[in-house]
C-alpha cells in the first residue's frame, strides 16, 4: 500500500466528526438509562427499599423525611430503579447531568426531582476560556474508565479540539484541572501541587462518581472521597464513568457553547 492509497481511503471516509452540538446528539445505548429522576412525593410511606440496595449509600431516607438520592454518589447500577415499588425512581435516558453546585445533584423533593443543570461561567471567565480552554488532567486513583472516556473526546468522532478545548502537558499551560478518581492519599500532594501550579483564574472539574464522592470505594480510609475537600470544584460530572456525551455536554455547558443543544436531550 502506498501513501496514495492511504490518502484515497482517508478521502473516501470523509469527515467522521459528529455534527453535535449543531446537529443531533448521538444516541445513548438503549440500556444506558441516563440520568435518574426521583419523585419522593410518590414514595410509599415508610418504604426504604432503595436505601438498602444502594451500594454507595447514595440514597437516604431519615425517619420522617422524604427520600433523597445523591447523583454524585450514584454509580448508575439502577438497583434502586428495579426495587422501587412505586416507580418514584426512574431512568430518563437523558445524557445531561453536569452541575455547578454539589447540592444540585441531590434529587427527590418537589421541584428537585432532576439535576439542576450547570450554569455557564460568568462573563469574565467566559471571555477568557470560552473559545480556548486548556485543561490539565490529574488521575488520582481513577480506574482508567473516566480517563479512557475523556481520551475518547480527542478522537476524530468527537474532536474536542474544534471547541478550543485541549488537554495540555503542563499545569503552567492550563486554565483548569480535570480530576478523576476518589483522590487517594498517595495522590493528595501531587494534586495540590498541580492545582497551585495552575495560573489564576483557574477552574476545577470533578469527573465521575469517584472524583465527586468516592464512587464504589466510598468510605475507604485510603482516599479522600473525592476532590472537593481538597480543591474548590466548579463543575461536577456524574457517572461511572460518565458517557463521553455527558462529559462533552458538561464542558460545553460550562463554556456556554451548546446553543440549542443545551435544551435538547
Amino acid at each position: 500500500m502506498s501513501v496514495h492509497d492511504t490518502l484515497l481511503n482517508r478521502l473516501k471516509r470523509g469527515c467522521e466528526t459528529m455534527a453535535y452540538p449543531k446537529g443531533p446528539a448521538p444516541a445513548l445505548p438503549d440500556r444506558h438509562g441516563g440520568a435518574l429522576k426521583v419523585e419522593a412525593a410518590k414514595c410509599d410511606a415508610g418504604c426504604s427499599a432503595c436505601v438498602t440496595v444502594c451500594p454507595t449509600e447514595a440514597i437516604a431516607r431519615p425517619s420522617g423525611k422524604s427520600v433523597a438520592l445523591d447523583l454524585g454518589r450514584c454509580i448508575f447500577c439502577a438497583e434502586c430503579v428495579k426495587v422501587c415499588p412505586s416507580k418514584a425512581i426512574t431512568q430518563t435516558s437523558d445524557h445531561r447531568m453536569a452541575v455547578r453546585r454539589r447540592e444540585d445533584l441531590v434529587l427527590g423533593d418537589t421541584g428537585k426531582e432532576q439535576v439542576r443543570l450547570a450554569q455557564a461561567l460568568d462573563k469574565k471567565l467566559r471571555r477568557l476560556f470560552g473559545r480556548s480552554l486548556k485543561l490539565r488532567q490529574v488521575s488520582a486513583a481513577g480506574c482508567n474508565a473516566c480517563e479512557a472516556d475523556t481520551n475518547v473526546l480527542g478522537t476524530i468522532g468527537w474532536d474536542l479540539g474544534r471547541f478550543g478545548i485541549q488537554f495540555v502537558a503542563s499545569p503552567r499551560h492550563a486554565d483548569g484541572l480535570l480530576i478523576t478518581g476518589p483522590v487517594s492519599k498517595n495522590m493528595e500532594l501531587a494534586l495540590k501541587k498541580t492545582y497551585i501550579a495552575l495560573p489564576e483564574p483557574r477552574i476545577v472539574i470533578a469527573l465521575g462518581a469517584c472524583a465527586i464522592a468516592g464512587g464504589p470505594f466510598i468510605g475507604h480510609q485510603q482516599h479522600h472521597n473525592g476532590a472537593s475537600g481538597l480543591v474548590p470544584v466548579d463543575l461536577f460530572i456524574p457517572g461511572c464513568p460518565p458517557h463521553p456525551l455527558t462529559i462533552l455536554d458538561g464542558l460545553l455547558r460550562l463554556l456556554d457553547r451548546l446553543g440549542e443543544a443545551s435544551e435538547r436531550r
Partner: protein, 493 residues
C-alpha cells in the same frame, strides 16, 4: 500430565477445603515452592493469611503444561522468612507486598521497599537504585503525566540518551480494594471488582464471579458463560485496537492512530449494546449475567462487529505496510524469552517473547472449555512483537466472536448464588486483555471472605517494562511503555 508434586492440584475456577491445602513448616514450604519455580513453573499468586498474631504464606502455582494449578501453605510463623527472590525473580514483588501487608521480613531480599503504601509523601519518596559516575544523570517522571493517564513515578538512570536502569515506583492509585473485601462479600464488592482496573471490568468481574461460584459449589448457566466469553473478547478487541492506535501515534503515524481511536470506541459501544455501559459494568454478576441479549440485539452486535473488524483490518494494514513504523518498532524495547520467563511475564507481552501462555488455552474455564482461541505468539520480544501479537489476537478474537455469535446457546443467563462454603479456598484465572487476572478467595468458618487476593497481570509485567528499557534511548520510553500498556490501579489495588 500428572507428575510428582507435594502440592495439591486443582483446576482453574474450582474450590477446595482449606484443610486439604497441604501445610508444611515454613522452611519446607519455601523449599517446595522454590523447587517448582526451579522446574520452570509459574507463581500466579503468593500472599499471606493472618492467623492470630502469626502469618501463613500461601502459594498458587500454575503448571501451564499440565493444565493445572497447585496450592500449598506454610504453618503460621512470625518474624521473618528467607526470601525466594534471591533465587527466583518471580517472587520479587510478591515478597515486597507480603512484607508491606503483614510486617514479616523476607530476609536477603535484594530490593526490599514498599509496593504501594503511603509513607506521608507518597511512594516515590525513598531510596532509588542509583548509578554513579561523572557522565550519569537521573531523570524523574511523574506521578502526574503529560496526557490523560493514571499516575506513577519513573526514575531513569541514564548515560547520555541511554537508559542504564529504570525503577518504577507505584502506589499512587491505592484505594484499599483487598482490605475492603474482608468479611464480605459486601454490597459494594462486585462494583469494586468491576473497577479494580476499569479497562478490565469483564476480566476482573468474571474472575470474581468464578471464584464465588466455585466457593458456592455452583456454576453460572451456560448461556451466561457464553456471554462472559463474548464480553471478554470485546474488551480485548477494544483495548488491543486502542493500543495499536496509540503505538502508531507514538511513532507519529497518524492514519492508524486516528482510525484506531475511533474503532476502539466502536468496540466499546458493542459492549454498551449488551449492558448499557461501554466498559461492561453490570454485565457479569456472581451467578450469571443479569442482562440477556435477545436475538435482535445479538444480530445487531454481529453486524456492527463485522464493520468494526473490517475497519481495524484496514487501519492495521496501513501500519504494517509503513517502513517508517517498522523501523521504529523493530529492535526497540527488547526482552528475551528467558528474562520474560524468569520474571513471570504474562499476557501479550509474554507471548511476544515467544512464550506460549494463555489462560484461555492452558487453564480453560467457563465457555473456553468448549470453544478455544488459538494462542498468538511472536518470537522477537520487541515493540514490533508486542504490537504484532495484539494484531494477531484481534483477528483471533474476531473469528471467535463470529463463530460464537452464529451458534448461540439456549437457556437462562442468571441463577441464584447459594451460600459460600466455609473454610474453603477458590482460585479463578481469566485471560484478560493484558494477561492473567488471578483471584484467590478464602472463606472463614462463617462462610464470609476471610482473605481475598487479587493479582492483576500488571503486577507481573511492570518489571518487564523496566527490563525492556535497559540499553534503550530514553526518548523511546513512551513507545516502550505503550507497548506494554499496564494498569496502575490494577497494580495498586
Amino acid at each position: 500430565m500428572k507428575r510428582d508434586t507435594p502440592f495439591t492440584l486443582l483446576t482453574n475456577g474450582t474450590a477446595l477445603s482449606w484443610a486439604d491445602v497441604p501445610e508444611w513448616p515454613l522452611a519446607e514450604f519455601l523449599r517446595n515452592v522454590g523447587a517448582e519455580l526451579g522446574r520452570g513453573e509459574r507463581l500466579s499468586s503468593f500472599f499471606g493469611v493472618p492467623e492470630g498474631d502469626a502469618l501463613r504464606l500461601v502459594a498458587v502455582l500454575a503448571f501451564d503444561a499440565g493444565n493445572t494449578l497447585a496450592v500449598g501453605r506454610s504453618q503460621p510463623f512470625t518474624g521473618s522468612f528467607p526470601a525466594l527472590t534471591a533465587t527466583h525473580a518471580q517472587a520479587h514483588l510478591f515478597e515486597r507486598e507480603i512484607w508491606e501487608q503483614h510486617g514479616v521480613v523476607p530476609e536477603n531480599h535484594p530490593w526490599l521497599k514498599p509496593v504501594r503504601k503511603d509513607h506521608g509523601a507518597g511512594p516515590a519518596v525513598g531510596d532509588f537504585f542509583r548509578v554513579d559516575g561523572r557522565e550519569i544523570h537521573e531523570v524523574a517522571v511523574g506521578p502526574v503525566h503529560a496526557g490523560i493517564i493514571e499516575p506513577g513515578h519513573f526514575r531513569f538512570q541514564c548515560a547520555g540518551e541511554e537508559v542504564l536502569h529504570l525503577e518504577i515506583a507505584l502506589g499512587y492509585q491505592h484505594r484499599g480494594v483487598e482490605e475492603a473485601i474482608t468479611g464480605g462479600p459486601h454490597r459494594a464488592t462486585v462494583y469494586q471488582m468491576e473497577t479494580v482496573a476499569g479497562d478490565t471490568t469483564i476480566g476482573h468481574a468474571t474472575a470474581y464471579a468464578n471464584a464465588l461460584e466455585a466457593l458456592a459449589g455452583t456454576e453460572a448457566p451456560l448461556r451466561a458463560q457464553w456471554l462472559r466469553a463474548i464480553a471478554l473478547e470485546l474488551e480485548r478487541l477494544a483495548n488491543h485496537t486502542g493500543d495499536l492506535g496509540a503505538l502508531a501515534g507514538d511513532v507519529a503515524f497518524l492514519p492508524t492512530a486516528s482510525a484506531c481511536g475511533k474503532i476502539r470506541g466502536d468496540f466499546l459501544n458493542l459492549t454498551a449494546l449488551l449492558c448499557g455501559n461501554r466498559f461492561g459494568r453490570g454485565l457479569v454478576r456472581p451467578g450469571g449475567c443479569p442482562l440477556d441479549g435477545d436475538a435482535e440485539r445479538l444480530s445487531q452486535l454481529r453486524k456492527r462487529l463485522e464493520t468494526a473488524l473490517a475497519e481495524v483490518q484496514q487501519a492495521a494494514a496501513w501500519l504494517w505496510d509503513a517502513a517508517s513504523v517498522r523501523t521504529r518498532f523493530e529492535h526497540t524495547g527488547h526482552l528475551h524469552a528467558k528474562q520474560a520467563a524468569g520474571i513471570g511475564l504474562v499476557g501479550p507481552a509474554a507471548r511476544a517473547c515467544g512464550l506460549v501462555r494463555d489462560v484461555r488455552f492452558d487453564h480453560p474455564t467457563g465457555w473456553h472449555r468448549f470453544a478455544q482461541v488459538p494462542v498468538s505468539v511472536w518470537p522477537d520480544g520487541d515493540v514490533f512483537a508486542r504490537a504484532r501479537v495484539r494484531w494477531l489476537e484481534i483477528q483471533r478474537s474476531g473469528d471467535f466472536l463470529r463463530e460464537q455469535l452464529d451458534a448461540v446457546p439456549e437457556g437462562e443467563t442468571m441463577s441464584s448464588l447459594p451460600a459460600l462454603a466455609p473454610n474453603s479456598l477458590a482460585v479463578a484465572l481469566v485471560e484478560g486483555w493484558r494477561g492473567e487476572v488471578c483471584h484467590v478467595a478464602l472463606t472463614g468458618p462463617d462462610g464470609k471472605l476471610r482473605r481475598y487476593k487479587i493479582t492483576d497481570p500488571s503486577f507481573h509485567n511492570w518489571t518487564g517494562l523496566a527490563l525492556a528499557l535497559r540499553g534503550q534511548a530514553i526518548s523511546d520510553f513512551p513507545l516502550c511503555n505503550k507497548s506494554f500498556n499496564l494498569s496502575y490501579c490494577g497494580f495498586d489495588l
